[in-house]
Structure formats: C-alpha cells, structure tokens
C-alpha cells in the first residue's frame, strides 16, 4: 500500500502538461466552480477535433485529468466529447473519490465544449 496520494499516471501527466495553452480560432468552454477553474479550447476540421488545449487552476488531479482529456480526444469526432464521463477518467487515473466534485467540473466543461462544437452556437475565441 502506497502513502503517495498520486498515482503514477497522475504524476506522469502532471509532469508533462504539453496540452496546456490556447488555440487561435478555437471554440472554448470555461467553468469556474468547486474550487477549480477550467477552460478548454478546441479546433475542428471535418467534424473531428484537430487540436485541444486547456488552461486550469486546480489541484494536480484536475490538471492531470485535463491533460488526459486533451490527449484522448485529439483526432476523434467532436461529438465524442458529449459522451465524456468523469467516473471513467477517475478510474483510469486512480483519482480518489473525494475529488469527484472537481472532476465533475471537467465533465461539465468537456460536454459543454462538445455541445458547442456540434451546434456551432459559440463563436470562435482567439
């Protein structure tokens, strides 16, 4: 049993947040709640997510999960974002249950981004 509060996946992602940043001409979703602040930006081509970037203020689990989301969804159909589930990423990254509230904010941000991309209701943010 480890006393380390972070799984190996969390540590690896946190150490390499290569998807942190912004995108030009991107569609964005931003939520500030539960002590975390997340902004996701995406560009799309032919219905697929060309690039994903995030900015976040939060604990290591939140930052690592945001990085994981960006890595997982780049190249996939934008509609997949609406299927995102916090519980799944918590399981994959071994995020403790007490962080559920914060990871649900990521879920809301990701799904909101998915809706915006599919209905095109949100204007691009540079």
């Amino acid at each position: 049993m480890s006393s380390d509060p972070y799984s190996a996946q969390i540590r690896a992602l946190f150490a390499d947040l290569s998807h942190a940043g912004d995108l030009d001409n991107a569609i964005c979703s931003e939520i500030d709640d539960q002590g975390v602040h997340i902004r996701l930006a995406a560009t799309c081509r032919g219905g697929c997510l060309q690039a994903l970037r995030f900015r976040a203020w939060g604990c290591p689990h939140v930052l690592a999960a945001c990085e994981a989301v960006c890595r997982e969804y780049e190249g996939r159909p934008a509609s997949d974002l609406e299927e995102f589930r916090a519980t799944r990423i918590m399981e994959i990254l071994s995020i403790p249950l007490e962080k559920t509230g914060r990871i649900l904010v990521i879920e809301d941000t990701v799904r909101s981004l998915g809706r915006s991309m599919c209905d095109g209701s949100v204007p691009p943010v540079s």
């Binding site: 942190a20 203020w57 290591p60």
Partner: protein
C-alpha cells in the same frame, strides 16, 4: 549535488544528532533498568536521567527539579493547560490564549470551554504579534491562566515573552509558554523570564521523538493537576516508567544545542537572507510573518493566485509544508494564516520553508530557483494568464 529529497521542513522535525543517536543506542543495550528500581542497575538509569535533567536545565538556566518528562510538547501543553486550569478552577474559570497557537494548545482550550471554562481568544496584529497591552486589557479578576507560544510554528513570529509574562505576573495569572520551536534555537533564561510553565520537545532540536518536558516554575502558585494516574514517579504530576534512552538523548541534544546555538542561529540568518533575496522580486508575494525579524529558521510565503496542492507537488523534491490540507474535498486553509488576515486563497497557497543545521547554501539556492519556476509554471497554466 542535490539529493533526491531536499529537506526544508525542520520546523516539523529535525534529524537526530549523531552523538545523540549513539548515546541512545548505548543506553538501550547497557542502561536498561527501570530508573525507579533501587538496585545498582536502576541507579545507573536514574543517574542518566539526572544528568539529562542537568543538561536541559543548563540550556534553560533552570533547576533540573523544575522539569517533568513527558512524551513531547503535545502532552506538555495538555498537562500544563488542563492541569493548571483545573487546579485553579475554584478561584476562577477564565483563561486567555491566541487563535494562532498550535493545535496542541488550541484544542485543549476548546475542550476546557466545553467543560465550563471561559476562554478569551486574543487576535494578533497583522504581523502575528500580541501586544502586552492587549493581554492586560483582557485580564479579569477571575483570569487564571494565559498561554502564548514563544516561536510560531507556521510563521516563525517570536512573541515578546518577557513583556507578556510580566503582565501575567503583575496580575497573578499563571503563564504557560509553548516553546517547542524555541528551545535549543533561541536563548531562553528561565531564571529571569517570568514564565510559570513551558513546554518543549526533543525532536525539534535534533533530539529523539517521543520525549519532551514541561517546566514548572518553583513558585507556590505553580501547581497543576496531573492528567495520568498510576504511580509515584515525577512527584505524581506525570507518573509512568521513564524512558531512560529517550531522556538521555534529549539531554545530550540540549547540551549540543547550548554549545552551538549562536553558530546555528547565524547559519539560519544567512540561509533565510539568501533565500529571501532570491524570491523577494516575485510579483504579489506575501510574507506570512516578517522576512527580517522572527525566527530565521522559518520563512512562510504565499504566492498570488496559485493552487497550494499543485504548488506542493511542483516543488518536489523539496520537502516543505503547505498551508492547506488539500487531500479532502473541502480545502482547509491554515487557521493560523487566516488569523493573520490572509484570505483562504492566500492561506492555501502558502509554503513554509524551514531551514536547519544541515541545510546548505546550495540547497537554498536550488529551492529558491525551483520555487520561482513552479510558481511561474502554475501561473501560466491558469485561465486568464497571457499566452
């Protein structure tokens, strides 16, 4: 060469001095008898304990008979505060302390409040100091005890113990001092300081964990009720078989500290100055306490708009303390920093760097650079930061 862990958490605990460790090992194999036993082996244990009493007494300029051995500062604080409050309860049930004290103190007062005592919690000024006039104004005819710590464990703020103690003496109020962060690090002369009860622990000054002491001044007013019962040891104030090896270790740690206190202090001043000069230019940096005064072994800073848990992880391999407990859903910012007027955000982004005897200038330089880089990285990650 920087090790895989850079230890800058000396306010939490210190490594055991090598000479202390050697003595304790020797003690465990050759001086193992119960010191209460009246045979030659027992007398040998008793002699070791008496020697330790003289060593601690010499460090504090106090009679060894004024010391009661305990398991550490937490027990000493409990014994002093609860013991004194209960003993003096027939005379009055009003007590005074500060919200910036260690939990080992504040939790005892909260327990006493539930038992019918009335506690006045004196707020510090923004630098963490308690003016003696504030204490004087709070004292009432039924006030029996005041407890104010010497060096704050989170901020390094040093209280004016002499002035505060004088107010207590003038008003016939018993004065307890939690000196866990002060003993062995700053000069303490109990022959002249108006202190009635003082808590100390070995592991904060290169002694072993699990051993401490409570100083009880040799004055008629200084009576306390015991917390434990079950034997006649230590004048029944704290019964139980004494751990000879731990006490011997504490005694030697006290002797070592007395011999090098000035050098240690000078070393810490240089380290803190070097560290502070490297990070002081950071925009919006808040010092919790004072960078120029207070105990030089502690520097507590809050970075602007930085999430504390991420900062702590980013700072690895630095071993430092944070001002928040972020491992729960609800973040709990440091109550000490909140009492100094810090916001929840400022408190939870605070980092306490605490230096010690073995800290090197190279480690301090590395720590400062690492801190600046971590703050910069996390700042750039936040929404709203410039790309």
């Amino acid at each position: 060469m920087i090790a895989d862990a850079v230890y800058l958490d000396y306010a939490a605990s210190t490594p055991v001095d090598e000479r202390v460790a050697e003595l304790m090992l020797e003690c465990r194999s050759s001086v193992y008898a119960n010191p209460s036993s009246n045979h030659v082996a027992g007398r040998r244990s008793r002699d070791m304990i008496e020697r330790a009493g003289m060593q601690v007494g010499a460090l504090l300029n106090s009679d060894p008979k004024t010391l009661v051995w305990t398991s550490g500062a937490t027990e000493s604080d409990n014994l002093a505060i609860a013991g004194a409050a209960r003993y003096r309860a027939p005379r009055g049930r009003h007590l005074v302390t500060m919200p910036t004290e260690h939990k080992a103190v504040t939790d005892v007062f909260r327990m006493l409040e539930k038992q019918g005592f009335e506690v006045t919690w004196l707020e510090p000024d923004t630098d963490g100091q308690l003016g003696p006039e504030i204490l004087e104004a709070a004292i009432r005819p039924d006030t029996q005890l005041a407890s104010i710590m010497f060096v704050n464990n989170e901020t390094g703020v040093i209280q004016d113990i002499e002035a505060i103690g004088t107010v207590c003496r003038d008003n016939d109020v018993l004065f307890h001092v939690d000196a866990a962060q002060a003993v062995g690090k700053v000069p303490i002369d109990l022959a002249t300081l108006p202190v009635d009860l003082m808590s100390l622990t070995g592991h904060k000054f290169y002694g072993p964990k699990g051993i401490g002491a409570l100083y009880i001044a040799d004055r008629p007013a200084c009576h306390i009720e015991p917390l434990f019962f079950g034997g006649g040891q230590q004048r029944r104030i704290r019964p139980g078989t004494l751990p000879t090896d731990l006490i011997a270790g504490l005694g030697l740690a006290a002797e070592v500290a007395a011999g090098r206190m000035h050098d240690d202090f000078t070393h810490l001043v240089a380290l803190r100055e070097a560290f502070w000069n490297r990070i002081r230019g950071l925009d919006g940096l808040i010092v919790n306490g004072s960078p120029d005064s207070g105990f030089p072994g502690i520097l507590n800073v809050s970075a602007p708009n930085i999430e504390g848990e991420s900062l702590l992880l980013s700072l690895e391999p630095l071993c430092v303390a944070t001002g928040s407990a972020c491992n729960s859903q609800i973040q709990e910012p440091s109550y000490v920093l909140r009492a100094l007027g810090r916001s929840d955000l400022e408190a939870q982004s605070s980092i306490r760097f605490s230096f010690g005897r073995d800290t090197t200038a190279e480690e301090v330089e590395y720590a400062a650079q690492h801190y600046l880089e971590a703050v910069s990285r996390l700042s750039e990650l936040a929404p709203g930061a410039s790309a």
